[in-house]
């Protein structure tokens, strides 16, 4: 059993856990004050607070290694009996470290990237707010408090995606003038900010509904309370409300993590400063959804012990993940903007994580899929943050977001080139030396071994996605660093500008992460086993999910011995061949440039159509706009014009006209002619007299 240290009232032992999420918020509050004295000093303050938060997070690591937890609550909304609290269990401890350290590096990078921006105060405020909200999600011990962080990251993303609020042309995303189904595919920062906020809000209301359903039956928002007493689940399942509630909660994750069908905001979120993109994609926001599923999946899986079957929930998770992984990878292969390619790849990789977590719930060995998903989260955080920051440097130096405006840069930006290869290999899952390989392989193995009826189709989708991932990553590196200089670069050079390496404050952070991708990758298997052990103990003690030891024993006698002991051979062969095919194709088109890719696409109506279909985002974005933006606005205008202004306004006219008409009649009687008054007077007297007589 875990040595759970639960305390009520702010406890000294839990201060480090509180500090992890409170420190960034303190930074957010302090920074505008600091900016009054010196704008430059805000850089230092922000980085210092990020470091302090990261160090606090590190002090939580022993919890993960020793399978301990800190659970500390303080009174909050006492009138409803709700408490605020931190819950630092192994899952939260690992996650908060990933978040804290990656964001720390991104903060360091930002000091270089945002140099000279006059709105730096606002930038740091929201960056700190962003990280604080994310840590709040990670360390919350209940849904309601988590939702504060949840909306906090939404708000911060809105503010940061629309950071360049003046909507200058260079800050847009998409190709100007391009239309899909009659709608422009070209978005301004502020538009994209709203899009991100509203699309994730759609997920959030689902999540709220799910939260409320559970609260209505359990009477608590607390994760620990929900685990300890599962009577609520029995009641809910009897009323057929448990699966809907779980799926609604997953709706929140779909929105935040940009999964199908709420994936489209992620691409436009590229209008923000690149440091923000790195933060959104690697450390905060999209990882929040995965974390939520990781928080909830064991809770739901453990219900199997009391005879509640949650397979439908896990099937939804797995399929949404698989579909997203495939869908976004196809689009990543064709887009010309470097940040967009990376964004597609994030959505796709998050899909992998969801898939792993979903499959975990469908298999006997829950911990395998769980570990695979989380391991992929960690490795993705490292290489994606690195790739984004490197891409930011490229944007900075070249002054264009299009890869077609780059080309041949490897001679000029050697460090960036090397680091991008390292991180890129991680994304591709280059065999044996990168974290990406091991984590992806673990997912393949988990899917393959799950023994579920859906395992095969999901496995095939995952495999095709892996091929595409390798291809688009190779394509990206090839287009940016190989071949000849683009016209854009040549023109810049003509004007006296010369391409140079990024400044150290920028390349060191992504260098570190790129090196880590390889460094941890070399010992990847051991690293994975470590996480596997942590989670095995954690799941057993906190949720009572026992690993099937017999199965583990059987596995260890697998065909592969020595270095690769315990690795599933089918998964291994699959991921190796996926890498080989994807890399090979990418090499032919973009590095070796044996075949011109544009000519190739145009050579054949089939390729052309597919290319266009992918480039138009499967028409999903346009359809969403038609259905949820354009049509409702037409509808609203129609209602305003024909119902509000005619029918409802009519209610006004009735009394108005009646009163005016009445006034006119009354007015007519006031003739001012004494004679007519006399006649009426006489007639009146006559009537009165008659009445009296009768």
């Amino acid at each position: 059993m875990a040595v759970g240290s639960f305390e009520f009232g702010l406890s000294a032992n839990a201060l480090n856990a509180w500090a992890v999420w409170i420190l960034p918020f303190v930074a957010a509050v302090v920074i505008p004050g600091v900016a009054k004295f010196s704008k430059k000093a805000t850089n230092g303050v922000a980085v210092a607070f990020a470091l302090a938060s990261a160090i606090s997070a590190t002090t939580l690591l022993p919890l993960a290694l020793g399978n301990n937890e800190i659970h500390n609550q303080i009174p909050w909304i006492s009138s409803i009996g709700l408490k605020a609290g931190v819950l630092a269990d192994p899952l939260a401890a690992l996650m908060s470290n990933v978040v804290a350290w990656v964001s720390f590096l991104i903060f360091v990078y930002s000091t270089g990237y945002m140099k000279g921006d006059k709105d730096i105060t606002r930038f740091w405020f929201w960056m700190a707010f962003f990280v604080g909200s994310m840590q709040l999600i990670v360390l919350s011990d209940n849904f309601l408090q988590l939702f504060f962080g949840w909306e906090g990251v939404g708000l911060a993303s809105y503010a940061l995606v629309g950071f360049w609020y003046k909507d200058k042309k260079k800050d847009h995303v998409g190709i100007e003038g391009r239309r899909v189904l009659g709608l422009v595919d070209y978005y301004s920062p502020t538009h994209s900010g709203i899009k991100a906020f509203i699309m994730t809000k759609v997920g959030d209301i689902m999540m709220l509904a799910g939260m409320f359903l559970i609260f209505a039956f359990a009477g608590t928002f607390g994760f620990r309370e929900l685990t300890e007493n599962t009577a609520w689940a029995t009641t809910m399942s009897a009323q057929h409300l448990l699966i809907p509630a779980a799926v609604l909660l997953f709706g929140g994750a779909i929105g935040k993590s940009a999964q199908f069908p709420l994936n489209e905001w992620l691409l436009e979120a590229m209008t923000g400063p690149t440091a923000v993109s790195a933060l959104i994609h690697a450390a905060t926001m999209v990882k929040a959804g995965v974390f939520l599923v990781a928080r909830l999946a064991p809770l739901f899986f453990a219900l199997a012990a009391i005879g509640i079957n949650m397979d439908q929930f896990f099937e939804v998770v797995a399929w949404v993940g698989a579909i997203t992984a495939f869908l976004l990878a196809t689009q990543g292969m064709v887009h010309p903007e470097i940040k967009k390619v990376l964004a597609y790849s994030t959505g796709s990789q998050i899909g992998y994580m969801m898939m792993a977590l979903g499959v975990a719930g469908l298999s006997r060995q829950f911990v395998d899929g769980y570990t695979a998903g989380f391991f992929h989260l960690i490795s993705h955080a490292m290489f994606k943050a690195s790739l984004f920051m490197a891409a930011g440097s490229l944007l900075h130096i070249v002054g264009s977001r299009f890869m077609t405006d780059m080309g041949g840069l490897r001679k000029y930006m050697k460090k960036t080139y090397a680091f991008m290869w390292a991180a890129g290999l991680g994304l591709m899952g280059a065999p044996f030396i990168t974290t990406g390989f091991w984590s992806k392989d673990a997912i393949f193995a988990a899917v393959y071994e799950s023994g579920n009826t859906w395992a095969l189709p999901i496995f095939v989708l995952a495999l095709i996605t892996a091929v595409m991932t390798t291809f688009y990553t190779t394509r990206m590196i090839g287009m940016v660093f190989f071949g000849n200089k683009s016209k854009h670069v040549e023109e810049m050079e003509k004007e006296g500008y010369h391409i140079h390496e990024a400044s150290p404050s920028m390349w060191i952070p992504y260098g570190i992460l790129a090196v880590l991708t390889i460094g941890i990758g070399v010992v990847g298997l051991a690293f994975e086993h470590q996480i596997h052990d942590i989670f095995t103990e954690y799941l057993a003690s906190a949720f009572g999910i026992k690993s099937d030891m017999a199965n583990v024993a059987k596995e260890s006698q697998s065909v592969l011995g020595g270095f690769l002991e315990g690795v599933n051979p089918v998964a291994l062969v699959s991921s190796l061949s996926a890498f080989a095919i994807g890399f090979g194709l990418g090499y032919i088109f973009y590095i070796g440039r044996f075949v011109d890719s544009t000519k190739f696409v145009n050579s054949n109506i089939f390729f052309y159509a597919i290319h266009k279909f992918f480039l138009n985002r499967w028409y999903l974005n346009a359809l969403i706009y038609w259905g949820f933006v354009v049509a409702p606005l037409y509808f609203a205008r129609g209602v305003y014009r024909y119902f509000e202004n005619i029918v409802i306004e009519g209610f006004n006219l009735v009394p108005e006209k009646t009163m005016a008409g009445g006034a006119r009649i009354m007015q007519a009687t006031q003739t001012g002619i004494s004679q007519s008054y006399l006649y009426v007077f006489g007639a009146g007297i006559l009537i009165v007299v008659l009445l009296l007589l009768i």
Binding site: F148, K166, I198, P632, F651, M659
Partner: protein, 517 residues
Amino acid sequence: MQFILLQAVFLPLLLSPVAYLLGKKFGPNMSAWFSFGLLLYCTTIMITSVFSGTYEEHYRWTQLFGEFGLLLDGLASPFAIIIYVVSTVMVLFSKPYMIAKITLQFEERANSQKQLIGGGTMIESSSLKNYVNNQIGAYFALFLVMAMGMLGTVLATNLIEFYVFFEVMLIPAFFMIAFWGYEAKRRVALLFFFWTHVGAVILLLGFLAIGLNAGSFNFADIKEHGIPQNILALAAVGIIIGLGVKMAAFVVHIWLPHVYRAAPTPLNALSSGAMLGVGAYGFFRLLIMLLPGEYSHFALFLNLWGLATMMYGGIMALVQDDIRKLFAYSSISQMGYIIFGIGSASALGLSGAEMMFVSHSLGKVLLFMMVGAIVLQVGTRSITKMGGLAGKMPITAVCAMIGALTIMGVPPTSGFMAEWTMFYGVLQTAIQQGSTIRMIAFGLGLVATVITMAYVLWMIKRVFFGKLPENLENTKEANWYVTGPMMVLAGFTVVIGIYPDIFFNQIVPFMKGLVGV
């Protein structure tokens, strides 16, 4: 101490002539600061009396109607506090706004006279000063009376008393629109008076039906079972319609956009932030507390009516270009939220509905102050003519954003605390009653929050972001009479959002007692 509430209610009325005279003699500053000090004093004594729990004062009145009481309980205190806090803050904001507005009117008048006479008359600066002093004195006098009317309504313990205060607050509003409104101000003032008065009269019919049958007009003495069933139903319908008109619920909302378009901005803020909420208060006090049996019949209807209002208002707000009209429809939509919560028939739902009033007041007043600041600094109300103002008016932009978040119900603002409790209450009742209609209403209500978010964010984008039009290049930040109050309210909404117990400690136990949980 005695007579606390009596002071809080009647001091503004009694001293309103002083505000006028001070304005006339010494100018806007004196009048504004006098009104501010007076309201601040009244607010403070009222808040201190809340600390000790329920607080009431009773005075002898007429034999016919019963006693004259002032009651500050868990239901009334949030309303009372917000009404006076908003009024106090709005005094400061009114000063620069009204000076500008009155000066404008003076110039218009002078111009029209010039045209009539033939362009010969000289306008002395002293006559402008006199005109402004005179008018602003009258403005603050009316302002104080209006504040008194609103407070009196929520403190009343007697049906007739309630009605009197309810009507009293309309009169100053009528004059404010007629004197300092825009465009067809007289017509709109009449329209406003007509609609709200009709609503009030319907309400009065309901009151009389209850009072005459129950034998007393005192809230405390009225027992539902003492009244015949058919009369009870009629009275309930009267109350619902009367208050529905007041809150501008769907179908009877049409007066509100007109009024908001024509009224001066401080009045908009006051009416949206405080006056509409009096209608919500009426639902609690008159329907839920006096006629609980009837309430349980009408709860589902109120729930759906609220839903229709919140959706309709939101959809209409999406397509407005006049920024005041946008907020008019937004207010309608927000009142829909409150009615939606009132129809929830659960303790938390009702608490949420009341919290919604608190939060809506803070948020909407912030947004109206933003409108005022923009009208002052930019001089246009058409959203299409704005843009990029965030760079020019950063404090206004930040405060308006916080107000917008409050309206959208995004944590950590008070809006979220209101919305989650309210929606949860609706769901709770739906589950308990096994009602599919309520379940669907809950889902659609959540959808309405997305609509709210869409129109608010779109408005903010078009006003504050994007390209700055060339003619606005020289726009400056509003002065601190505007930004100061905004910052106070913005801070307040965040504090409540993080620590809602400030109000929940009062509201939740009261509502639990009411619903009988």
